[in-house]
């Protein structure tokens, strides 16, 4: 990378794709209303919006890939005058993949798992031109080189990631060589997520399209891998590709977009050059979105004060006076010593999900746990909530060793811990009303009559800022944010000493995430429970926790006060991780990018 984004001045070019007044309707719902958009060679236009904003159906509607029930109207014209909307199938077939190509969110699901990468290239190429097998192969090697999967430095960097991913999956073997030949002979599952997304991009490039539609191309990837894929997309644009990037992530937009189109409920609320939008957002919605994004480094000053306050006064002041007996103040709520969890599967080498981990959480303390996928975060959560027995090492919850505990004693400890999961749809039984879900811990551990239970459920719903009248609802009748509030209500139903929150807001839109986080933190201060807050999002962890542990490949690579770890990381992995997070500020992100490439 040689040019900083500020220095890049695109020559004004004719748009290669001009969409005007694109309207997508589903029976009864207008998903996109009169959306206009241009794709210009050499520029990345970001279509930004929260879920349900209509950004994806609009983009897919341009090339006839909107869901079957959708009706698309308006106009989408290629540079030579070909109209795409309403075009007959043969026209679309000739355009899709050849002139407009798409990259999707989940790379692993975008490829046929039963075909080698080489076979997928042959199919992609054969769809639009006649080509000998040898020529197709040569072309594939060239394309893989273009996306950094040749034998150059980029591939080597990603190969390290692949080794990690292979470790994470416990797969043992798999791709460790970055050479294009090895990749072509591999099946998708043998590659890492980042490599597969590179392959998808290479496949999209196979027939030299004019427009690349990238639908949340990095959302399913870890942040360090995301940084590499964003670099790649940026390089492609600089080389003259017109890129339409669909995303919900402000950081991603700040990182690579030139122009931004912000959609809300199917309507464009604001559009402009990326610098203008971030510096002077005009529409209240844009401002709200920018405000809601957790920013790494934003809360550090407050936190130094906060941490002291929490350590000194808060737990005592806010602890409900009539609460059940707390453990002795000196005993940590969670103490993991030399904890190892090893998975052994027949025919595979043993895999250490957690490798000699030490971790401590004191009463009333929020501790962050950061790591990428496969780092062992969730295994740790399972150990703490006694869903997973340790292979070796000591687990003490509320001062008691978990192993060798009598069942009744174990249940008593389990009653003192709550858990909140990432997926708001999956964490509630779809066949139970939310009242029943919240009441479950009470049924299991508290000897309450039906009336007292209903009273407590109503009280819990109020605590998470929901209307108690919702108790009779079913989960599918609620929004994601509401469901996550219900999951939190269930976790605090027994007034726990510890709440394990496993990526509690990752599946939520930023605006909802901000509200749920704020509510959760207010609850924590008020009820004084200790919390293990697991997240891959450093900015969120910074906002909530006083101390943080960084987990990488099953080992704690760094631990300490949040502000110290995030401002002055000592471990090289922590440094990479922090450097890879795109910040929602184009100017700062450009500096960070330059620094990352220099370093």
């Amino acid at each position: 990378m040689t040019t900083a984004p500020g220095a890049y001045a695109p020559t004004p070019t004719r748009p290669v794709l001009t969409a005007t007044g694109v309207t997508v309707t589903f029976p009864g719902v207008r998903a996109a209303d009169a959306v206009s958009l241009t794709a210009v060679p050499g520029r990345v236009v970001a279509l930004l919006g929260e879920s349900g904003s209509g950004k994806s159906v609009t983009a897919m509607g341009l090339v006839g890939l909107a869901p079957g029930a959708a009706t698309v109207s308006g106009s989408a014209e290629l540079a030579d005058g070909t109209e795409l909307i309403g075009a007959p199938r043969p026209v679309l077939d000739a355009v899709r993949g050849a002139r407009v190509a798409a990259v999707f969110q989940e790379p692993m699901r975008a490829l046929n798992p039963l075909l080698t990468i080489g076979a997928q290239f042959r199919l992609a190429l054969a769809a639009h031109r006649r080509m000998s097998a040898a020529a197709a192969r040569d072309r594939a090697v060239t394309l893989l080189g273009q996306v950094g999967l040749g034998a150059d430095a980029g591939a080597v960097a990603d190969a390290a990631g692949a080794a990690d991913a292979a470790d994470a999956a416990g797969a043992g073997g798999g791709a460790t060589s970055g050479t294009a030949e090895r990749v072509l002979a591999s099946y998708p599952h043998e590659l890492s997520g980042g490599q597969v997304q590179r392959v998808c991009i290479a496949l999209a490039l196979a027939n030299e399209p004019e427009v690349l539609l990238a639908d949340e191309p990095t959302t399913a990837l870890d942040v360090t891998v995301q940084a590499q894929i964003l670099d790649l997309l940026r390089d492609l644009a600089r080389a003259g590709m017109a890129v339409i990037l669909i995303t919900h992530d402000m950081g991603v937009v700040a990182d690579i977009a030139d122009d931004v189109v912000i959609m809300r409920e199917g309507v464009i609320v604001e559009r402009g050059a990326v610098g203008d939008i971030f510096a002077h957002p005009e529409h209240p919605y844009t401002r709200m979105l920018l405000d809601a994004v957790p920013r790494l480094g934003a809360g550090l000053v407050d936190h130094a004060v906060d941490a002291a306050a929490v350590a000194d006064a808060e737990p005592v002041a806010t602890r409900p006076p009539t609460g059940p007996a707390e453990p002795a103040a000196s005993a940590p709520v969670v103490a993991l010593t030399d904890l190892t969890v090893t998975y052994t599967r027949r025919g595979r080498r043993p895999f250490h999900a957690l490798d000699h981990v030490d971790l401590r959480i004191d009463a009333g303390e929020v501790v962050g746990l950061v790591g990428e996928s496969g780092s062992g975060k969730s295994t740790l959560a399972n150990v703490v909530t006694s869903l997973q027995p340790p292979t070796s090492g000591e687990v003490r919850i509320l001062g008691q060793r978990l192993d060798g505990l009598a069942p009744a004693e174990r249940r008593r400890i389990q009653a003192r811990t709550g858990i909140v999961f990432q997926d708001p749809a999956g964490s509630l039984n779809p066949r139970a009303t939310i009242g029943a879900s919240i009441a479950e811990p009470l049924v299991l551990h508290a000897d309450l009559g039906a009336a007292a239970r209903a009273e407590r459920v109503a009280e819990l719903l109020r605590l998470v800022e929901l209307d108690p009248a919702l108790a009779g609802r079913f989960p599918h009748e609620m929004s994601g944010g509401q469901r996550q509030r219900v999951a939190i209500a269930r976790a605090i139903a027994l007034d726990p000493a510890l709440v394990v929150a496993d990526e509690p807001t990752s599946a939520l839109d930023v605006s909802v995430q901000a509200a749920v986080l704020e509510m959760f933190l207010a609850l924590q201060r008020r009820l004084g429970f200790a919390c293990l807050f697991i997240s891959h999002d450093l900015a969120v962890v910074e906002e909530v926790s006083t101390r943080v542990y960084v987990l990488h490949a099953g080992r704690v690579v760094e631990a300490g006060p949040t502000s110290r770890v995030l401002l002055d990381p000592q471990d090289p992995y922590t440094r990479d991780l922090i450097a890879a997070v795109p910040v929602p500020d184009p100017a700062r992100q450009a500096e960070r990018r330059a620094a990352r490439h220099a370093g």
């Binding site: 589903f26 174990r410 999961f421 999956g426 509630l428 066949r431 209903a454 109020r462 509200a515 509510m519």
Partner: protein, 355 residues
Amino acid sequence: MPPTEPPRSDRAQPELTGHAGEPSGAPSTHPTTPETGELPVRSASSDGAPGDSRSARRPLPGTRVWTRLRTDRAALVGLALIALTLLAVVFADLITGALGVDTETYHTDLLDPYGVPAGPLGGVSLQHPFGVEPQTGRDLFATVVHGARISIVIGLGATLLSVAIGVAIGILAGYVGGVADVLASRFIDVMLGFPSLIFMIAISAIVPFDFNRVLLMVLILGVFGWPSIARVVRAETMSLRARPFVRASRSLGASNAHIIGRHILPNLWATIIVFSTISIPGKIGAEAALSFLGVGVRPPTASWGRTISNAVNWIATDPWYLLFPGAALFLVTYAFNVFGDGLRDALDPTTQVGS
């Protein structure tokens, strides 16, 4: 206990935009509802003042299912047909007695010289509403009504038995996992590959002559019919076991019985019901096959299966013979299917019914 005052007052509602835009796909169903929870209340019983506890006055689950089922016209038709059939089963003697027909009296006077019923539609008359059997002239109405008794009892009984065994083994394999799963799965595979028909014939042949043949059919068809549902239930249980709400329950120290009863089974009902309703006609057919081979219910006991297999031989000369028992089997199959579909939808809170 934590403090109880509502926290809404001390802070402006923080849900900034919140509406249509959540990952649940909410926009398509509730396009304009705010996140704060004022979704339109659908259930008729939940329109009380907000703020009080609603769960105490919530209707029983059965009430809700019936409320939803009541709006599903196809399911109601199915239910009516099933009820009618069950009435015929229970009051078969009364019905045929009132009409003055029975399954055994020969009416050779109603046949032409070739043994085919004289008159239109296989000898349909006021006296014999479904016509008469060829060759013997026995009343077909009585045969169909009494046949229902055997066929329905065997179909329902064998299905209940096989579903009970299959669900138990499937949940055991899928929930416990490990060695139990390996053993149960192998057992399922062996049973699926087993030449059941031959075994059934052998068993029917060696069972003492005076053993109740209907009970025997139920036992044989039930004991050999469970592997397929066990396999389906096992797979579904395995996926349910890994879902977060089950893990949340386990992390609270819930017993296995609690998890299976409260979380696994309610999410299996749809599968079990659909499987059962398509299994009933299959069991009736299996009984017909065994009876045809001479090891099922013995003549002169009427059963739909036996009557249909007899009628097939007469299809060229007396097609009407097949019509009535065939139509009865078709209607019962149809009724169980549409009722099963409706019941599944009514039990599943995520489906909109009766629209």
